[in-house]
């Protein structure tokens, strides 16, 4: 779950990390009110859960309360990377001497967390890593010890600080780690964390992605869906515990198992087709889940044909067949579809479908070929 900047900053503040003074607004008038309680100049920032928001024009720097109102109006009528701006964060602009990067994320190879720090902040860290890899420090966290205050100081030292600034900056790094662990972040970053002309450090932007699998420990986020962030299909999929990703083609795809569904998309592409989505019904889905999946995929107007690819392991072919018939009855599937069905209870599943007049294929590659041909023949 991606938190918005203002949500992330609230967490930082709770852990004693300095952030610019600011406030949250959902209208231009509100933005103006907040600004009048702050010292100019101001930063007016669109609250959208995407990286690279600044480059996309989502942050406006202005000098007066009037300008804040105008900037707010402008942003609230914008979309950033396809996401409509619904709220803003207005804050005092910080007097920058130097922009740094500090973040903590997951290190799959070392099976732990990893700290990434750089004396170059304010742009995406991947960009810094690509341009000047020597300026990026990767510090794997020993899971036995965790990240400790002295590790934080080592890093503050390595990105170029000395004297009292080592401990000041180190404490901020350490606090960010505590915040990240406490809220089960799979990514927590300050980008930039700024050194001011006075030699203080302030986290000017913050990003937190909470590990979805740990949400059961964080009831404060229960039911939280940021409006506009997800498509109607994605929202419906999340509610039904289905993994759905919108793509830009016209062949709707449903399968069981992420790897199998990916391979299905690849096969469609190989035969010249274009998948409209990724939808994994997961393992052991009952018939109603299958029906819901079909409903979600067909609710996308771009879908012109449907490809269902099931290899039954925990998933039972008879349940899939029942779900398909259920969906056909309720929704009246009016798009051509191809179904491939093998594995657990294959005979029963095939019998149900055959009796209902549906032809079932055995090979996913054959099925992929067939569905692309159907699309082509429609042109």
């Amino acid at each position: 779950m991606k938190l918005l900047e203002y949500e992330a900053k609230k967490i930082l503040i709770k852990y004693g990390i300095p952030t610019p003074k600011g406030g949250f607004a959902t209208s231009a008038i509100q933005a103006r009110e907040i600004a009048s309680s702050l010292k100019p100049p101001f930063a007016v920032k669109a609250q959208v859960p995407v990286a690279g928001r600044g480059k996309a024009g989502g942050i406006l720097l202005v000098n007066s309360v009037d300008e804040v109102e105008k900037a707010a109006e402008k942003l609230l009528n914008m979309q950033i990377k396809g996401i409509p701006v619904r709220s803003l964060w207005i804050e005092e602009k910080i007097n920058v001497k130097k922009e740094l990067y500090f973040g903590i994320t997951v290190d799959r190879l070392n099976k732990s967390y990893v700290v990434i720090a750089s004396s170059e902040g304010g742009m995406e860290i991947e960009t810094v890593a690509a341009k000047t890899p020597e300026k990026v420090i990767r510090f794997p966290i020993n899971p036995r010890l965790g990240f400790r205050a002295y590790h934080a100081r080592q890093i503050a030292k390595k990105i170029g600080y000395s004297g009292n600034q080592i401990s000041t900056l180190g404490n901020i790094f350490y606090s960010l780690y505590l915040a990240g662990m406490e809220c089960d972040a799979e990514l927590i970053e300050m980008n930039p964390i700024v050194e001011t002309q006075e030699g203080n450090f302030i986290a000017v932007d913050a990003r937190i992605i909470i590990d979805d699998n740990a949400l059961f420990r964080h009831s404060e986020y229960k039911g939280r869906i940021v409006e506009g962030e997800l498509s109607p299909q994605e929202i419906e999929a999340v509610k039904n515990d289905l993994a759905y990703v919108k793509l830009d083609g016209n062949i709707g795809v449903i399968g069981n198992g992420a790897g199998l569904v990916m391979a299905t998309l690849d096969a469609i592409q190989l035969y010249g087709g274009k998948p409209a989505n990724f939808l994994d019904i997961g393992g052991g889905a009952p018939s109603d889940k299958m029906a819901t999946a079909i409903k979600i995929v067909l609710s996308d107007p771009n879908v012109e044909a449907l490809f269902i690819n099931i290899l039954g392991g925990i998933t039972r072919c008879d349940e899939v067949a029942k779900g398909l018939l259920e969906a056909r009855e309720k929704l009246g599937i009016n798009k051509p579809f191809v179904i491939r069905l093998v594995g657990t209870n294959e005979e029963e599943g095939k019998r149900i479908l055959t009796e209902a007049g549906i032809h079932v294929l055995d090979s996913m590659e054959e099925a992929a070929q067939r569905v692309t041909e159907i699309i082509k023949s429609k042109r």
């Binding site: 997951v106 799959r108 190879l109 099976k111 732990s112 967390y113 991947e126 899971p143 036995r144 662990m181 089960d184 799979e186 590990d211 979805d212 699998n213 740990a214 059961f216 420990r217 993994a243 990703v245 793509l247 830009d248 399968g255 069981n256 198992g257 992420a258 790897g259 199998l260 569904v261 990916m262 391979a263 998309l265 690849d266 096969a267 469609i268 592409q269 190989l270 998948p275 990724f278 994994d280 393992g283 052991g284 290899l311 039954g312 392991g313 925990i314 093998v342 594995g343 657990t344 090979s363 996913m364 590659e365």
Partner: protein, 291 residues
């Protein structure tokens, strides 16, 4: 023999009384796996499919001399279940459960490393050494004993490819599902090393997918170690767009990292043939093994 599990594996099932645990215990027993005990707190003293159930792993291990465990415990409790197995001396733990928090999984892996245990998963279909031991939820009829070692990040895709191999009479030594989560116990290199020293294994099928760089590292290892057995790879997600998480938590392309192209290129550089579609894996392996 195969790797990690074999006919000497004596397994307990943690979460044996749940729907999944009970169902797959039955299937594993039918396959011939030695399921020697089950654990569900509060259900000690009962039996499931004639397997005695205990309240704690401590008791189960003491009574059954188990050396492996398969875990079906719900995600919030699964990491604790794994630690319970490890602390009681079990050296092979298969975690079927998906959606375990990253923080919990990291803790389990660190402790497993400390006590020298092997973790398969989490979010894995499990591991099977055909004809000897199935510790997992895979449909067993698609596997057949033979000389191909399989290792995969995916579940059903593995079945797809294994079924293809079996159809061509290419049996498998052991099939290992690494698991679809960002933190899993084994990576490709670990399993390649296992297969390297397994006499039964004559070739390896490696099923990767987009996200991360574990495939690239495996390719590097194959070059550096001058890997002695032929490897055929398949990478799922060639058509996936960047920035979208394709089901598996790990299957996401970040910027230029984690693309199928990068992985395919790395394998080709390592002299590993990369199949274009799942059914090609069997075709390529057939050629390599016959030669």
């Amino acid at each position: 023999m195969g790797i990690i599990v074999n006919k000497n594996t004596r397994a307990i099932v943690q979460g044996i009384t749940g729907a999944q645990g009970s169902f797959h215990t039955k299937l594993m027993l039918e396959y011939g796996t030695k399921i020697v005990a089950g654990v569900t707190p509060g259900k000690g003293g009962t039996k499931i499919h004639d397997v005695p159930v205990y309240d704690t792993v401590e008791e189960a291990v003491k009574e059954s001399m188990a050396n492996a465990s398969i875990i079906f415990v719900p995600a919030p409790f699964a990491a604790d279940a794994a630690l319970e197995a490890l602390e009681n001396g079990i050296k092979t733990v298969v975690i079927i459960t998906e959606h375990i928090p990253i923080k919990d999984a990291i803790n389990v892996m660190a402790y497993a490393g400390q006590v020298g245990a092997t973790i398969v998963g989490p979010n894995t279909p499990g591991i099977i050494t055909p004809g000897e031991c199935k510790l997992g939820i895979m449909p067993s009829h698609i596997f057949k004993s033979g000389v191909v070692g399989m290792v995969s990040r995916s579940g059903t895709l593995t079945y797809e490819i294994a079924a293809g191999l079996t159809r061509k009479q290419l049996g498998q030594s052991t099939c290992v599902g690494l698991g679809g989560d960002p933190i899993v116990g084994l990576n490709f290199i670990d399993v390649l090393k296992f297969f390297e020293s397994d006499q039964q294994t004559r070739a390896v099928a490696l099923i990767g997918e987009i996200g991360g760089n574990l495939e690239e590292l495996a390719a590097e290892y194959i070059i550096k170690s001058n890997y002695p057995k032929p490897v055929v790879a398949f990478i799922a997600g060639r058509s996936a767009p960047p920035g979208k998480r394709m089901g598996h938590a790990g299957a996401i392309i970040m910027g230029k990292a984690g693309t199928a192209e990068s992985k395919i290129e790395a394998f080709q550089k390592a002299g590993v043939e990369v199949a274009e579609k799942p059914s090609d894996v069997a075709v390529l392996l057939e050629k390599l093994i016959k030669h």
